[in-house]
């Protein structure tokens, strides 16, 4: 019997051949926590009685959720992380570097790695062909101390992406549509594995967006094969050496296969307060918005900002709308400056923030007022997510976000190219 990508990677790290449902202790290659989960992980490492960590150079603490810090309690938490790094040799990614998941794919993760992170969207790195999954602080503390974790080898749902996307429809629409179909817990304990002819035209940024949201269907990770697109991405960053080709065996066993004809897709929106509450944008009533957020680990990458700039060039954000833009990383930010994207967005009326999570998790930089509506390119719209349980979050692609910012209500981005 052939193997899925998940089974292949876990077999290599467990040191024996495994299959779905096996429970194994595996070596992990990259371990991370962020400023919301890191302080608890640090104190758990100490409670377990460890003064050293196993692989300091691939143990990373990201200061991104509340960066720069909006209040002293969080500044103190940041100090805990910096001190731990000093003592153990772990790496700190400090204020201004960007969102953990973006930095992981840019700098740390290689195809074939097992990656664990104290952040649910750690599944993003699955786009590079790594088995990457989110866990809690105590699991991550063990990861820091021992460079090991235990896990159940997941069964895999195969997503076969065919066709090419129509104008105005993007990777974000694929994953929103898919989550609507799978539902918020339809893939619990399972891995999603993407393949199909569509991958040939898909950028690596698109893959990151899709893998990022695998957890919104309950999945453990969202895997793409590591192919020439992956290799080119790594080579651009001087990391070609860490490339290896990874793909599922032709006779791998899947629990389910979902065929998607991407040429039939429409721009999609997730309505409040769950991600699987999806609808094509043209079936929405006219929804007025107060704030638009372009950014996050889902859609704060260069291609996303460039697309928004293409739409916003020479236009203005509608009056009464706040457009908040947060590049996902310093690399993204610099390239967006060099390409004139930041200038276009700023002239259109955007408030551009330092790389990081921005307003995504309701800590700072755009908390919503009572009854307000935000249209966001992030991955989650749960009640209270953006800091106020009495507000409403709709999720969409960067194109839908940018065009809606111009119109002042949730609008169909296909109008841009009509």
């Amino acid at each position: 019997m052939g193997k899925t990508i998940a089974e292949k990677i876990i077999s290599s790290r467990a040191g024996r051949q495994v299959q779905a449902k096996d429970i194994v202790v595996v070596d992990v290659d990259v371990v991370m926590a962020q400023d919301g989960t890191g302080p608890l992980a640090v104190s758990q490492v100490e409670k377990m009685g460890f003064s050293k960590i196993k692989k300091p150079s691939s143990s990373i603490l990201f200061i991104d959720h509340a960066a720069p810090s909006p209040r002293k309690e969080l500044s103190n938490s940041h100090m805990v992380l910096r001190k731990f790094a000093q003592q153990t040799g772990a790496v700190v990614s400090d204020v201004g570097e960007g969102v953990c998941h973006q930095l992981l794919v840019e700098q740390y993760v290689c195809p074939g790695d097992v990656v664990i992170g104290a952040d649910s969207h750690t599944c993003t790195s699955g786009a590079l062909g790594a088995f990457a999954t989110g866990m809690g602080s105590t699991d991550i503390a063990v990861g820091f101390a021992l460079a090991q974790t235990w896990l159940m080898v997941p069964e895999t749902i195969h997503i076969n992406l065919q066709g090419t996307l129509p104008k105005g429809v993007f990777a974000k629409d694929i994953i929103i549509d898919l989550i609507g179909k799978i539902t918020s817990d339809g893939a619990t304990y399972k891995a999603l594995e993407f393949s199909g002819s569509m991958l040939e035209t898909m950028t690596i940024d698109d893959r990151f967006t899709i893998s990022n949201m695998a957890v919104e269907a309950g999945a453990k990770t969202g895997l793409f094969p590591a192919d020439q697109v992956t290799e080119a991405y790594l080579a651009e960053r001087g990391r070609k050496k860490c490339f290896q080709e990874i793909k599922a065996d032709a006779d791998a066993a899947y629990v389910q296969t979902i065929d998607m004809d991407c040429s039939k897709l429409e721009p999609m929106v997730s309505k409040p307060h769950t991600v699987d509450n999806t609808v094509p944008v043209d079936q929405l009533d006219r929804i007025s918005i107060d704030q638009v957020f372009l950014g996050s680990c889902t859609n704060g990458r260069l291609g996303d900002l460039a697309l928004a700039a293409e739409i916003l060039k020479g236009k203005k954000v509608a009056s009464g709308i706040r457009l908040i833009v947060v590049p996902a990383s310093r690399e993204v930010y610099l390239k967006a400056i060099q390409k004139g994207i930041i200038e276009v967005l700023t002239q259109a009326g955007a408030a551009v923030m330092a790389p990081g999570c921005g307003p995504c998790v309701g800590v700072h930089e755009g908390i919503l007022g009572d009854g307000e509506v935000c249209l966001s390119t992030q991955n989650r719209n749960f009640k209270g997510r953006m800091g106020n349980p009495d507000s409403y979050i709709y999720l969409c692609s960067p194109a839908t976000a940018a065009w809606s910012a111009v119109k002042g209500y949730i609008a169909d981005p296909r109008e841009v190219w009509a």
Partner: protein, 168 residues
């Protein structure tokens, strides 16, 4: 797992109770002060919950309890508030794992058979929930052996400390 009986009243919640509802992001700054954060536990699902809950009571959810963020603070403050176990029809994966790691039982069962403020007695080793208010019994799925081991050691930190590594 050791012979363990739990007794308390149920607090009923619906489907898709996210970690944002359990430990809201606006209290992000309290994450290093769990006792303070626990005063806001489940606040966005039931603003009065933290005031009403008593030691040993149960949080009873529907489908996909604990979806969303990996924040272990969510089950940690449920435990800190005195809750004896979390019951749901199904759990989100990371939350479920975090419950075991922090040492609070997370039990999968048909929670439609439990209403608000039912008196429950749970026998962890038998795998049975006795609903004393309705005079009924509900079975719950046994935990995987790995998790039973971690839970009976008192959580993952204690397990690792005791064994100087994994002993699963």
């Amino acid at each position: 797992m050791e012979q363990k009986k739990l007794k308390g009243n149920s607090f009923k919640f619906g489907d898709d109770i996210s970690t944002d509802l359990i430990a809201p992001g606006r209290y992000f700054h309290l994450r290093s002060n769990l006792a303070e954060l626990a005063k806001h536990v489940l606040e966005d699902a039931d603003p009065q919950f933290a005031k009403k809950v008593k030691k040993g009571d149960f949080v009873v959810g529907g489908r996909n309890f604990g979806l969303g963020s990996s924040r272990e603070h969510a089950p940690a403050i449920i435990k800190l508030a005195g809750v004896g176990a979390v019951l749901a029809k199904s759990f989100a994966r990371i939350f479920f794992r975090n419950c075991i790691n922090v040492g609070i039982p997370a039990l999968i069962c048909d929670t439609d058979q439990i209403d608000e403020q039912n008196l429950l007695e749970i026998d962890l080793s038998e795998g049975i929930i006795y609903n004393r208010s309705k005079d009924t019994q509900i079975q719950f799925n046994p935990l995987p052996p790995v998790m039973i081991k971690i839970l009976s050691d008192g959580g993952l930190t204690e397990h690792i400390k005791k064994n100087k590594g994994f002993n699963l």
